[in-house]
Amino acid sequence: MNVWLEKQRHLIDFTLASLARRKTKNLGLLLVYTLLVAVLASLTLFTNALRSEAAYVLAGSPEVILQRMVAGRHDLIPPGYFDKIGRIRGVQKKEGRLWGYYYDPVLKANYTFMARPAEEVADGSIMVGATLARERGLAPHNTISFRSYSGKLFAFEVASVLSPDSELLSADLILLSENDFRAFFEYPAGHYTDIALSVANPQEVRNVAAKLSEALPDSRPILREEVLRTYQSIFDWREGIMLTVLAGAIFAFSILAWEKAAGLSAEEKREIGILKAIGWETGDVIRMKMWEGLLISLSAFLLGLVAAYIHVFYLGAAVFEPVLKGWAVLYPRFALIPAVDGLQIATLFFFTVFPYTAAVLVPIWRAAITDPDSVMR
């Protein structure tokens, strides 16, 4: 055991010395490799964080949202509709919601206006999403005016900026009082945009939805779990595009690795011959090269991972933002909550470290099994 350990130490020593001898070549390789891992890992971390972000945001939203449909399109909830729902077992709370979109010609962006009860937002004041506040340069107690669709100008005082906890979805959000909302959009009294229902027991959600459809045939219940699934598939789809691109990157990298390995220089081949002639076994040579491959790929992997972590969680994934985000017109410049999935990291490890090490080993193996007598000539 001791001898084995000592041998590995010798091999690593020699490997380090060898790496240092071909500094530029190995540093270049390390750089390319690190870059590739960083891009791949950024993507992995980023999509994963987005997904958990969406889940986190949706966790606060109601289990069921009821919309009324007219001619297959979302329509207002008329007065009295609310009472037709009656009592459904399992529904804890039902609430009419008021929200709508507003196009701001200043930012050329859409905002989501949402009414909140008077206890939360007083008449004449609003609460704004952090991104929006930043883009329009708003701070608490500032005043801002919006021209309504009917052409009237409304001035609001900013009561507060929404906490950027889940900036992804609240980026373009404006909360205002019900009265202001109805006045601003000239929303008919007694009408609502949709109805939110809270269901405590997740098992009951589908029952509740079925009963709602029965009681109100012109309604469409939207379940949170379905929304969640839609989000997930959107992410999966976007991820798919990126993965296709990245498959190309990996392929290019494999060629690079292969070339480095297959292009074992005459010098390296001679050295392998010398080592064998002076008593190294084929296995020793291969192990030494394996250490070399592992040292390069492991350091590239770790460096790339750290770079990706910084890129995604501290620099806001600047490289991917335009591709992967953007259902809101305002790009939320948010700090994602660091979320790392062990399995994904393991997959990434497998697809970067393993092919490289394999690609390096094959030609080494071929060189290492040749007879050592060539060094005598």
């Binding site: 000592e6 010798h10 010395a17 060898s18 001679r270 002076i278 190294w280 076994e281 050592p372 005598m376």
Partner: protein, 224 residues
């Protein structure tokens, strides 16, 4: 100590460029002696040394080392024997560039698992004997030809082998350095080592340090 019977060696056997480098060699070599092989270029001297030194295997015939038939052993065992019993000094020295003299010398010790400190200590003793201590940490490509050869000799000795095999050891050296090498050879004999070398050089062949000269021609032994 080393016995060769009916050794034949073919390169590219069965192909159109088949070439028989050795054509039936019978030879017995004594322990503790310096034997020199001489003969024209292409006569098979190097090929013979690679067979004895376990760097390759004969096409037919037997190689016995200390009574044991080693000609049929698998590569692993040949490597073991080579590492324990043979030290090589190559014509081109075959040092590994970019490493220091010291690092080159301790390389053959790695597969034995001897602790690094012990190897370094052994290397320093050899450097002292070969008057090379002041160059121990220099990169080998900065060394002169004679210094490089002494590094190669130190490397051949690090595992304390019984047999030293030197192919054209003086081909790259001038007269003074060649004489120095012959002096080192006498040291080997004093230490009880068996030495096999090849040479064209009369200075080597006629030296008193060499106990036996064997002539070769066209893959056969001839009287020197």
């Amino acid at each position: 100590m080393i016995e060769l019977t009916q050794i034949k060696k073919a390169f590219n056997q069965g192909r159109p460029n088949e070439y028989w480098a050795l054509n039936g060699i019978d030879l017995s070599l004594e322990r503790g002696k310096v034997t020199a092989f001489c003969g024209p270029s292409g006569s098979g001297k190097t090929t013979l040394l690679t067979l004895v030194g376990c760097l390759s295997r004969p096409t037919s015939g037997r190689v016995r080392f200390k009574g044991e038939d080693i000609s049929g052993l698998p590569e692993r065992f040949l490597t073991d024997i080579r590492r324990q019993s043979f030290g090589f000094v190559f014509q081109q020295f075959n040092l590994i560039k970019g490493l220091s003299a010291l690092e080159n010398v301790i390389l053959p010790g790695f597969p034995t698992g001897r602790p690094r400190a012990e190897l370094i200590a052994a290397a320093h003793i050899l450097f002292e004997q070969l008057k090379l201590t002041h160059r121990a940490n220099a990169r080998v490509e900065w060394l002169s030809g004679g210094e490089q050869q002494r590094v190669a000799i130190a490397r051949a000795l690090i595992n304390n082998p019984e047999v030293i095999i030197a192919d054209e050891p003086t081909a790259n050296l001038d007269t003074v350095l060649s004489r120095e090498f012959m002096a080192i050879l006498e040291g080997f004999t004093a230490a009880g080592k068996t030495v096999l070398l090849t040479s064209h050089d009369p200075l080597v062949v006629e030296s008193t340090a060499v106990h036996r000269v064997i002539g070769m021609r066209d893959g056969c032994l001839v009287d020197a």
